[in-house]
Structure formats: structure tokens, C-alpha cells
Amino acid sequence: MEFAFPEYNLRLMAPEIFLFLWALLIIAYDVLTKRKSETTAGYLALAGLMITGLILGFTGTGHGFGNMFVSDTAAKFFKIIFLGSAFMAIGSSFGIMREKIVNHRGEFYGLILFSTVGMMFLSSSNELLSLYIGLELTTIPLFVLAAFFKDDKLSVEAGIKYFIVGAFSSALLLYGISFLYGLSGTTDLVQMKINIAITHLTFQNIGVILILAIVLVVAGIGFKLSLPPFHQWVPDVYQGSPTPVAAFLSVGSKAAGLIAFAKIFVNGLFAFHHPDMAPNDWGRLVALLAVAAMILGNTVAIRQTNIKRMLGYSSIAQVGYIMIGIVAMNALGMAAMGFYIFAYMFANMGAFAAVAIVEDKTGSCEISTYSGLARTSPLLSATFAVFLLSLAGIPPLAGFMAKFYIFAAGIQAAQHDPGLYWMYWLVGIALLTTVFAIYYYANIIKQMYFAKEPSPHKVTYNFPALTVLLIGLAGLFVFGIYPEPVLHFASGIASSFGIIP
């Protein structure tokens, strides 16, 4: 018997394999040690993520597993975001580790890492089934994480809600994928791009089946992305789940949904973006959902009293903005999408880290808790204010550059293609809702800074959480003032999807 090593290009998968083994190691460490340290497992997880990042840096580009696994710029860019958001989520979780999660520290970190591995597989998959498996590997650990406070009614509710919605959306997605397979005879995305176009040309009009496929896939991934009308789970799950998990859900899981969406639509259904293809076009459908997301997210967020719910609605709105980049379908749009989620990672993970720090101290996530916090905890208030301002899109923070690129992509698409003139409206609505957004972000700043009485609480920082705050702060300023390197990297996303600038 001879050891024949097939052309799998396993080296491309090195980061995923390493991170997976590392997650096993953390769980094993946790079950093996008798006298448990509060922080070791956490630091191990952080170290693992950093090493994975290093390995990712040395991993080349190419295809493996018979074109099912691909390592290109888009995959790498999103992998950095997954690793970064996992890093910041774990960094902000040391507070709850001390008191609330005593017996399952290893599992907590292991599950976050497993979910990260799933996202990384997803962003590298070049084919519908491995993409689906990646998506499942991403969400299943998150179901458990959402319900991690077993004794807390809200947390369990969050877990069950997320589980039911997640399972349902997976089924929808699979159904949609089966239609796409039926139309194209392949699950390979690049091949599908060609095959569906040929089917369309042969039969003149594929008719209702493609529409059904598009609607089902949009709905399936729409649940993960929390695009209205598939968003109802978001506020409850964010409110109930542990704050670091909510943070990871809002950035990591969302970025995963985004890359899955981009892979299927920008790559697989490339030809069916434009209204010329009516009624089989998906561009206007997604634009409509983006409008709904921006309006609903930004208006409902105004009335929230719980900060995690507010951030949940704000994240719904942010996805709406990102979708403009995808609907624009030009090189700038793809780069803008990447840059947006990159900037969003720093701002949102930072904001959730601040929420976690306050929650550790006060045990409350009500916005009224933040009243007068600036006088007792100036560092936390200042950084939190910066995160919120970045989410609102105030220069010179990275959030502004991100919105700027998104709008630029939208306007470029509208200007270069008369069929996409409605993109002006899309951008216009985005602008209008940005003004709403400023109102509720400013409201938190108002609570922190303009209150008459100083807050009775004075927060304490643990080292990792403080690091997360500072990373967020530095990221927003550095990439807001000099975004060129990231943009240059992000512009590679477009060529990964075969869009020529």
C-alpha cells in the first residue's frame, strides 16, 4: 500500500486546520486541569487567533480540493475580519468569565473558535455545498453561545429563538440552492455563472424557477444578515445572549453572511443583477430590502431603551448600507463592502466591549445606566463616544470613510448605467436615514456627557477589555485618516469576484 497524497493543496487550509486543532486544545485543557485559572483559557484563545493570523499571512493564494476550496483576496480579507472580530469578542469576555461563566470557560472559547473556523471555510468555499456546510459550522456553535447563561431566562430564550430561526433559514437556503443546482447542473459557483446564463439564453426566459431560487436564497441568507423582513430575531437575541457573543454575532456572523451572499449573487448570479433581466433580476429586490433595513433599523433604534437592542437595530441599518455596495456591483462597490465591514468591526466590537465593561460593573444594559458616566469614567465614555460617532459616520473616523465609499460606489453605478438610475434614490434614502442615525447615537453621548448628576458607577477595566477598546480606537483613527492600504487590499475583492475595475 502506498501513501498517495492527492493534489488537495492542504497548505491553503493551514489556518483553518490550525485554528480547529487549537480549539480542541483549549477544550482539552479546560477539562484536564483541576484548579481552574480564570484567564488562561482566554489568553490561549487570543494567542491561537494571533498565530492563525500569522499563518494566514504566510498562506499563498490558489485553489484546492478540486476547485472547491479557494484562497483569494476576498477570502483572505474576510478571514482577517473573522479573526479580528473573534479576537475582540474574546478580549471583551474576560469580565463575564470571572463571575458568570465558571464551569464552561473552555467550551465558551472553543465554540467561538469553531464558529470562526466555520466562517473561514465559508469565505474560502467556491461551491454551494461547502458554502452551506461552512455556514452551518458558523451558526451551530452560535446557537449554544447565545444560550450560554443557562440560568438566565432571556439567554435561553435567545438561544432557542436563534436556533429556530437559524434552522428555518438554513432550510430555505438549501431549498434555494437545490433550485440553483437544478438550473445549472453544477454547484461550482464559477461554472454556475456560465451555466445559468446559457440556460437562460437557451430557453429565452427561465421564468418562475429562477425567481423562486433568488427569493429563497435571499431569504435564507437574509436571516443571517438580518435584512428586513427577516430581522425580528435580532433585538431579542442580542439582548439575551452574553454581550461578547452578541458582539461576535453582529460582526463576525454578519460578515460571514455577507461573503456568502456575495459569493452566490455577485459570482454565481452575476448575469442577473441588472433590471434588463427582469423579472429575474435580484438587484432591485436587494435594493428594496436595503431600503427597508436602513429605514427600519434607524427609526426603531431611536425608541430603544436597552443599549444592546439599540445596537441590534443599528446593526440592521448598517447591513442596509453595506448592501448598497453589493447592489452597485462595480469594483468600487466590492471594495467599499469590504472596507465598510472592516471599519464596522472596529466600531461595533469596540462599542460592545464598552457595553460589556459597563455591564460587568453595573449588571445593566439600560441606556439610563450610562447617564453621567463621563464624569466617573472618562476613558470609557470618550472611547465609546468615538465608536458611536464612527458608526454614525463622522469624519475623520473610519466609519465615515466606509460610508463615503459606499455612497461613491452607488453614485458611480447610477451615473455609468442609465438602467440603474434608481441607485440615486437608494443613496438618497441612505443619506436621509444617516441623519436619523446621528440622533440616536448622539443620544447615548448625551446621556454620558450632558447629564446633571455624575454616575454612581465607576467602571474598572481588565487588561484584555482595555486592549480591545484601544484597538478599536486606534483602528478607527488610523484607517479613517489613512485608509489607502486597506482600500488597496479591499480592491482585490472585486477581482476575486471577476469584476474588472
Binding site: M1, F3, A4, F5, A28, V31, L32, T202, Q204, N205
Partner: protein
Amino acid sequence: MEGTANSMSEYLSVLIFIFVGIGSVLFTFFLSRLIRPHNPYKEKSIPYECAELPIGDSWFKFNNRFYIFALMFVIFDVEVVFLFPWAVAFGELGLFALVEMIIFILILFFGLFYAWRKGALKWV
């Protein structure tokens, strides 16, 4: 549109197959109803060779442990499902397949090990 019609007509046979399938089942039921003798009595409606007669309410709480054991069982059940085809094709696959399967089993063993350490195999 013509093409669509053609491709749909290929499914016609499937449709006919479904109707015939349902129809034949219904037909045999109907036939047996015509032929069989009709003599109902009480013993006929109790479970026969399936289980004990239920005593009391059937809606009672099972011990949680049953579920954990069932879960453990399912994992290894699935493992066997994968092992069978692997064993059949083993001759052509070579050493690499062996290594792959060992990794697969090791990961499952890790799960078993974890469950063991967490006390899932203990009946308290």
C-alpha cells in the same frame, strides 16, 4: 417558452408514477375491505408484541441521562455509517484514506473523551 414546456413534460412521467403509486395503495386497502371478515373485539385494539401495556399516563418525565446516552450513541452510529463504505472501497483508496479515517475517528474519540471527563457517562 417551448423549451420550458419540453422540460416540464419530462416530469409528467413522475407525476403519473406518483398517482399510480398512491392509487395502488388505496386500491389494495379497498380490496381488503371488501374481502376480509368484520369481527371487532377489545383485545384487537391493544398493542401486540410491540411493548408492555402502558400503566398510568404516558406523558411522564424521562431521566435526562437517557438523552445524553442516546446522543452519544447517535455519534458512533453515524461513524459506522461512514466506516462501511470506506471499508468496502478501502482497497482502491490506499494509505491516505486510512490516515484520513484515523483522523476522523480521533476527532470522535476526542468527543468521547470530553464527554467522559465531563461525567456524561456516569449514571448518578
